[in-house]
Subunit: 140 residues, 3 copies
Amino acid sequence: MQIITRTIQFETKGFNHIVDITPDVQSQLSEAQLNEGNILISAIGSTTGITTLEFEPGLVKSDVHEMFEQFAPYGKGYRHNATWGDDNGAAHLRSMLTGTSLTIPFVDGRLILGTWQQIVFIDFDTRPRQRKVVVQLTGK
Amino acid sequence: MQIITRTIQFETKGFNHIVDITPDVQSQLSEAQLNEGNILISAIGSTTGITTLEFEPGLVKSDVHEMFEQFAPYGKGYRHNATWGDDNGAAHLRSMLTGTSLTIPFVDGRLILGTWQQIVFIDFDTRPRQRKVVVQLTGK
Amino acid sequence: MQIITRTIQFETKGFNHIVDITPDVQSQLSEAQLNEGNILISAIGSTTGITTLEFEPGLVKSDVHEMFEQFAPYGKGYRHNATWGDDNGAAHLRSMLTGTSLTIPFVDGRLILGTWQQIVFIDFDTRPRQRKVVVQLTGK
């Protein structure tokens, strides 16, 4: 059994910006040359999300945003914003509900995901950011 | 340390169909004869959910459905549906928020869960399907 | 590779009571003297939540509560409540959506989290309780 920890980095625009990180995760797996095990994908930051989603424009550009606007709208006057002179209360709420960490199994060196199921990073924050995601492989 | 990967399969009806998979997970654990470690339960497909829930009819048949109908109703005209001639935009949104993967620890060969806490699979899709869930045990 | 399982215990007040358990998790990691790996944090009970959140009063005392009240209000007449003479249907729904389990990587003996990202336990139940959370370390 081995454990290998890597970091991937990329730039995001914020406001529900959804990034397909499946190719980066798969490439870490290929490089590690492990056969069977799992990959922990964990985002750094309390205004981020890690989940799976069919990465297609309808969901990515419209539907996910509209869903979150119903119960954690960006424009609401959150107590978080009033307390800290901040404007990203919505981002914190979306993050806590989506989760920032996910584990996916692999067998024969390949991620086990559905055909239309991608691993996505979501930047819920209200400004462009440089983001880091930890990819940790455990297996043999 | 060992790592063992199995798949369980079952049929679902869709539309928020909730299946208690705790007995299947426990039986994989019993068969593996491991003492201490954890089990990754990961569903294949972007219209699925894996979480824990008290598996009782009130929640399973009514309350969970009513909650999701408030912010991701099946009948809404999603951009996903318009783009792909599809009808399951709601299923994708419910899946991304619920999550499709979960890890539960075990000690003395037994899952550590609350008395009323079951591991459930939810099929959010809009038609009956044959489903696969990966059960991966890591431990000693 | 080692696997070490511990339990932390604390008292909660219920009704969305949010507890910062990051120091407890970090102290289990320090004691284990592992360098690289991950920690599974798994709550026992179907009215609990484990997630990450900026632990500051605005979010913790107001905003998180207000978000959940929109789609899983405590005062609603849930089928769960009617069936079991219970009053915590909202707690079960919030728990299934938030999730009760989380895995965080560590490197050089330190948890990899953002500066404002804490590991929190949420008690969604409707009464004070004694709670247990499993902290399981896997690594070397």
